[in-house]
């Protein structure tokens, strides 16, 4: 098999493995195909995902199923106002060894896993939320003078309830920027609900198999970065980014009217890397404008900060992004 042929096979294998994961997760999670795909894309892109949705929509189930499918270490943290950073990161305790000697030993927290589910992350205090920052961005944890690398892959999946705002601490912009995607989990349709009922109320519960190992996942993650992006496609992604900034001349009116701050360059990075994964999942060897558009909404929606008017009018960032996509041409040259 030639080197080139190997690339084509790799692409095919990538596509196949992704489909395997999707199908396996699909056994447990009814519907939410785009959410599952979004989570897989984010994971392969090396990012973290913020899931937003009302309780009971299967967010936790999705993450758990995914970790089972991928054979990864999974930990779940329920964020509450009294949750302390040490509860997440871990703490040093005085322990007695087998030979009877006492020594200080670092007891790792739940952050030391491959997939971390931060449930209702906005219920924790900012202090606790910020404890997640280093882990999410640097993939490491510093306790005292000791910095410990987290095991790759490290993937944080945070959830938040958009309805119960009382007693919550909205995530700061800096932390939001650490999430590659913000996915909205919508209420399932009637057919999906029927399927959920059928699956969860019978004697035998579906079981998921591990379809991918950790090494394969890391291989896929690295392979995704090699997908070529043509300059005009990258240009399209960047023009979309510019259009989220109200002060930019190319920004559409809706941006100028309702947006306070546009997305950071991290948004464009997120779009491009997600688009690469997306292209591979689609079995392609290049990123297309459609891939850019596909990942733009999830990548930009939590990075665009509305102004007062936008908040007052109840404007959704998704609408703004949609308008930006409509108004931004794929190519500017004739």
């Amino acid at each position: 098999m030639s080197e080139d042929a190997r690339v084509e096979e790799q692409v095919a294998a990538f596509q196949k493995d992704c489909n395997l994961v999707l199908n396996e997760v699909g056994k447990m999670i009814v519907g939410h195909r785009d959410i599952i795909e979004g989570v897989i894309i984010a994971m392969l892109a090396g990012g973290n995902v913020l899931l937003e949705g009302v309780p009971g929509l299967g967010k936790t189930m999705l993450v758990k199923t995914l970790s089972d499918t991928l054979g990864l270490k999974f930990s779940r943290m329920q964020f509450t106002p009294d949750l302390m950073p040490s509860d997440i990161l871990g703490t040093t305790i005085l322990a007695e060894s087998q030979d009877g000697q006492r020594e200080f030993r670092f007891e790792r927290g739940p952050i030391f896993a491959n997939i971390v589910l931060a449930d209702e992350i906005n219920r924790a205090t900012p202090k606790t939320q910020s404890a997640m920052l280093e882990a999410m961005q640097e993939r490491s944890v510093t306790i005292g003078k000791e910095t410990m690398k987290l095991e790759d892959p490290f993937f944080v999946l945070a959830t938040q309830n958009p309805l119960e705002m009382e007693g919550t601490y909205p995530l700061p912009e800096a932390q939001l920027d650490r999430f590659i995607f913000k996915l909205r989990v919508l209420f399932p349709s009637l057919d999906e609900l029927h399927t959920i009922m059928d699956r969860t109320t019978q004697r035998e519960q579906p079981e998921v198999q591990e379809v991918l190992g950790r090494p394969r996942l890391l291989e896929m993650k690295a392979f995704a970065r090699d997908v070529p992006v043509a300059r005009h496609v990258q240009d399209y992604a960047l023009r979309l980014l510019q259009a989220t900034h109200p002060e930019h001349p190319a920004a559409p009116d809706i941006t100028k009217r309702f947006v306070r701050f546009g997305s950071s360059p991290r948004g464009a990075q997120a779009v491009l890397i997600a688009a690469k994964v997306s292209a591979l999942i689609d079995g392609r060897f290049n990123v297309s404008s459609a891939d850019i558009r596909k990942s733009a909404t999830a990548a930009f929606r939590h990075r665009i900060i509305l102004n007062f008017e936008g908040e007052a009018e109840g404007v959704q960032t998704d609408d703004i992004i949609q308008k930006i996509i409509e108004k931004t041409p794929e190519n500017v040259k004739s």
């Binding site: 084509e8 070529p228 043509a230 005009h232 496609v233 689609d282 290049n286 297309s288 794929e330 040259k333």
Partner: protein, 646 residues
Amino acid sequence: MDNNNSIGQIERLVERLARRVRLQRVVNALTTALTLQILMIALLVALATPGWIDVASRNMAMLATFAIPLITALVAWFRKVDKISLAQVLDRTHDLHDRLSTALFLADKDRNDFEEAQIRDASNFIKSVDVGLAAPWRRPAEWVAFLVAACILLGVGVLKMPDHRRPLAADIVIQHDKILDDATLAMERERLEALKQTLVEAGLEDSKELIEALDVLLDRAENREISEKEFLEELERIEKKFLDKDDGGRKDLAEKLKEAAEELEKAMGKDLNQVPEAKALVDALKEKDYQKAADAMDALAKKLADPNLSSKDLERLAKIMEKFSDLIDPNDPKLQKLIEENQALADKLSKLFAQEKLSDSEKKRLNDVKKKVADLNRKKKANEGTLVSRQLKELQRKTKEVAGGARKAAEEKKQKGKKPEDPNAAKKPDFQQEAGKKAQDAARDLEKEGKEQQKSEARGAAQKQLDELREAMQRSGVKRGESKDGESQDEEKGKQMKDFLDKAKGKKPEEGKEGKFAQLGEGEESKDGKTGTDAKKGDERKTDKKGKGEGKGDSEGLGEGSRDLEDETKLDAKRVDEKLEGKKGDGPTRSEVIQSASEEGFATTEYKEVFVDYESVVEEVMEKENVPKGYRFYIKRYFQLIRPQE
């Protein structure tokens, strides 16, 4: 498959698309350009058909319009096309997810395995690409405009454009009210002819221009091109330009010479009778006729130069000329007398003032008298500088020299008679000849003055005509005010004239017309403030004085019609009525001639003769009598109306 080959295929594909896009661009641009060109051609045709531009210019401009589609097509074809963009179009239209455009992008760079794989992947789709789908043939956006423009061109070619070369509408002619009726105009033209002759004869400068200006003015009045105000202004302008010239007091000069001549006749009547040439000179000066005076002076000069003239005659002539010279006073005698009287008074008062015998009021009077003397002296000085004064002085000097020469010649002749022939006689000055020459000089001066006088008279005649023209116009204006319908008034006048001429020929006027004529006569009189009653009174008084059956008062032509006469005029003062009787001459009086003419009719006498007779009488009366100006006008108009037709 070699990736370079794949890239080549993609590039060829894009090139095909580029050609198609260029072609579409050319078609679109050509449609727009042709629309513009057609519109321009239509405009040129529209301009050339009626001649706004000539055919050669039109053809040149039409040729130039062909550059528009040519340039547009070239620009459209050669305008840069971005290959990547075209590849993107192919990707979009064939749902290739930027495969071709990415492959084209990667073509020019060092590629890794993944990128090579991408190009291979893209090449798999080349065969499925249909360029036509990416750039479907579209109808040019301007095709409707193109059709409309073509229709316009067709319309312009078929329809006849308005031609500006057709004769333009006539200029607006402002026609004013008629300010002079036809009869007045005819009269004025006739008089203008006469004036022309007078002016030419007088040798007046600008006479031709003056006549022309008046002629033009009358033409304009006749054509109603001029308003009453403009007419008067133009008259004033003509007057200022041609006639407003100072004659230097020539009238005064003539008057003074006349006075001198009369004085001379009184003083030396007998002597004058013995020298007919001097008598003729005096008579001419009395008549203020310089030409005659010059001729007489010339004759006198010849006489003076005559060697056979006796010393007695010479002496007589010298006496006459000396006297004449003395009588010619360049200074105003009245002014001189006034100065002397005032000076005497001033001296007397000054004397009393020196003796301090003057009251305050007398002192004031003294000042006033002094001032008056000073004023009179100033006036005298001013008079001395005038033309009259200079001329008189010159004439005085020359007559004195003539007299002196004559006297010397007379003495010389006397001496000659007593003494033997002097051998040096030839060397001595010939006083007689000298006097003759001086007389000739004086004759030349008089002749020159005569010419000037003639000019002045001609100018006066022209001035008179202008005055009369002005008055005629003003009178016509009064009538216009009475009746706006000027034409019907003219008609009326024509009828009146016809009636009058019929009457003059002895025919009876048509019934009713006489009354009308009479009524109009009354009306006209009343306009001048003279009522019909006043007129009748005048006639009655005249009848009383004349006697001789003229008291009927209703005879034809008096304008009274059949109306009864009013009572006699009652005078407040006591008076004695006297019946005046004129002396009968040899022939019939003028009134008798006129009377008899009216009684006997015109059967035997030519109307022209009668008219001339009437006119001359009237003119004589107008010259002698102080006839008011307004009446003069009507009299002249009347005679103008009854003038025999040539």
